[in-house]
């Protein structure tokens, strides 16, 4: 089926609104989610082949409501046959006056986002559910994005929805205390969506811009709800600053262009300015966190006119704080690169081996790629080439593999 791009964009925008509207009105999040998926499919088919309805949102909501009614009838007749009843105990204490229905549909997307990041769901399932329920992606698109079989994605989403039902979650934002607690998970999931789009752990294209754009949109929504959280600002800044380099990150043949060789004129100045302003404001709140520090590091890169102009001591200092804060081997790996710039490749290689010893990074292509880079800097081309080839074998991304194989041949040509 050929879905026209404008139809696809519209559906993606309307999907969370429709799901939110159905769940708010009728409950049954899990069935409403199925109903909306079926309505989206119907819309994709009929809108692509003919005219758009006068009121696409209303059309989608009507069709989705019919599907929900039909699903409910089927479930109820099945239950009647089984003669079991689904009884749910209600809390003895009423929850107080619920929040007013929001003025715009946008806020309902946020309720969905928090609902999909319910602590009862495992993180991989949260990502899949967020992409479908909030991002409006089909199961097939999610499967492609995450390099998973479609059946696995379907299973994850089904289980995730069941967990929400079992946990008796209501369609409302968590109360402020829970909101802050769940915020970490929400930010993590949003960032996973972004990194999935940006690094593209798999597939032919290096950057899947739609996932990046979606993650940035979600972060903006979260910031509207929680305007005083520096980590929310930090995450948004981090993604804006990273995404600002999108056009410079791939060459004409879709190949990866590393930071050192990027044409900085291609960087998106508007996104950089917004990112720098955001991270500056966040850091001024004196509640530093991993996203703010990553954004600050990216801001230092963005402020350098050329790669050699980069303020490496500043970046190294920021990685030092980040490393203490996050205990993430990937951070140690990046710190090794910065250390090599300040103190030379040997110091970088020594730190790298500390990160490489972490089981979480075992066999990861980044270890080989960074080691290769530092070995080359250290004037050990044969060992570097071997590491580049190891990295190329380990990555699932085609452009990244091409880049690494290309690098593997370079050191041998150089004297």
């Amino acid at each position: 089926m050929d879905i026209q791009p404008h139809v696809e964009g519209l559906l993606r925008e309307l999907a969370p609104q429709t799901l939110a509207a159905l769940t708010r009105r009728y409950g049954h999040f899990e069935l409403a989610e199925d109903a909306v998926q079926e309505a989206l499919l119907a819309a994709a088919t009929s809108w692509s082949s003919g005219e758009l309805p006068d009121n696409p949102a209303g059309w989608l909501r009507t069709v989705a409501t019919r599907r929900l009614t039909d699903l409910l009838r089927n479930e109820q007749s099945r239950r009647r046959r089984e003669e079991t009843e689904a009884r749910r105990a209600l809390p003895l204490e009423p929850s107080g006056v619920p929040e007013r229905p929001p003025a715009g549909e946008v806020d309902d997307s946020l309720v969905l986002l928090f609902l999909c990041c319910h602590p009862a769901i495992t993180p991989p399932a949260q990502v899949a559910l967020v992409l479908r329920a909030v991002g409006g992606l089909t199961t097939a698109e999610i499967a492609r994005s995450l390099l998973l079989p479609e059946a696995t994605v379907t299973r994850r989403i089904t289980r995730a929805k069941q967990s929400i039902v079992d946990a008796g979650s209501r369609f409302a934002l968590p109360d402020p205390a829970d909101r802050a607690r769940r915020l970490d998970v929400v930010l993590h999931v949003v960032y996973l969506v972004f990194t999935e789009g940006h690094t593209a752990s798999s597939g032919e294209a290096l950057v899947r811009g739609d996932l990046c754009t979606e993650a940035i949109r979600l972060a903006r929504l979260v910031r509207r709800l929680l305007p005083d959280e520096p980590e929310v600002e930090g995450l948004l800044a981090q993604m804006l600053l990273t995404d600002a380099r999108r056009a410079a990150r791939t060459g004409p043949g879709g190949e990866l262009v590393p930071l050192a060789e990027q044409d900085r004129a291609l960087w998106d100045e508007t996104a950089i300015a917004e990112g720098i302003a955001l991270v500056s404001g966040a850091l001024a709140r004196h509640r530093p966190g991993p996203y703010q520090l990553q954004a600050a590091i990216n801001a230092v890169h963005a402020e350098a006119a050329t790669y050699p102009d980069t303020d490496w001591p500043q970046i190294l200092a920021l990685y030092g704080v980040l490393d203490r804060l996050s205990a993430d081997p990937v951070v140690t790996l990046n710190r090794a690169v910065a250390l090599a710039q300040v103190e030379g490749p040997q110091a970088g290689l020594e730190l790298l081996e500390r990160a490489a010893a972490d089981p979480r990074l075992a066999g990861h292509h980044r270890i080989h790629a960074v080691r290769a880079h530092l070995l080359q800097e250290a004037g050990r081309p044969a060992e570097a080439a071997e590491q580049y080839r190891a990295a190329a074998r380990a990555t699932l991304s085609t452009p990244e593999r091409n880049y690494l194989l290309c690098r593997a041949t370079l050191p041998e040509r150089e004297p």
């Binding site: 009728y26 019919r66 689904a86 105990a89």
Partner: protein, 129 residues
């Protein structure tokens, strides 16, 4: 004095108008005509000052039962429609006499094409309204 006019239908009543689990069984024109007649009826009642309130209800599959069990409120889906008739909508009218209420109920029945029931509405103390 106030009366409630109640309309009933099995699940096909909702499907007829496209308000159930499928597209409308009636043609677009028939559905539009139904809502036009209903709107006209409500407008007449509003003009004569006999209208209090009136609404149609969603498909019975969306019904939830809430009851107390061992001192705790418990919800369950249903009761399920099966083939029996369920409350489909209601109007509350404020009229001068029982005869007038019956007259209006008859007009209601003609529009919805189903059986309707009429009952006097009481106030909190049980007196007639």
């Amino acid at each position: 004095m106030k009366y409630m006019i109640m309309t009933f239908g099995d699940k096909t009543a909702w499907d007829t108008l496209g308000l159930g689990g499928s597209e409308a069984i009636w043609s677009e024109e028939e559905v539009a005509e139904h809502f036009r007649a209903m709107g006209e009826f409500y407008a007449d009642l509003a003009a004569s000052g006999e209208m209090v309130s009136g609404f149609g209800l969603a498909d019975p599959s969306h019904t939830v039962t809430v009851e107390m069990r061992d001192g705790r409120p418990v919800t369950s889906d249903g009761p399920y429609a099966e083939t029996k008739e369920m409350l489909a909508g209601f109007g509350i009218i404020d009229v001068a006499s029982h005869d007038r209420a019956v007259e209006l109920a008859a007009r209601f029945a003609a529009i919805v094409q189903t059986r309707v029931e009429l009952r006097p509405v009481m106030n909190g103390g049980g007196e007639d309204q």
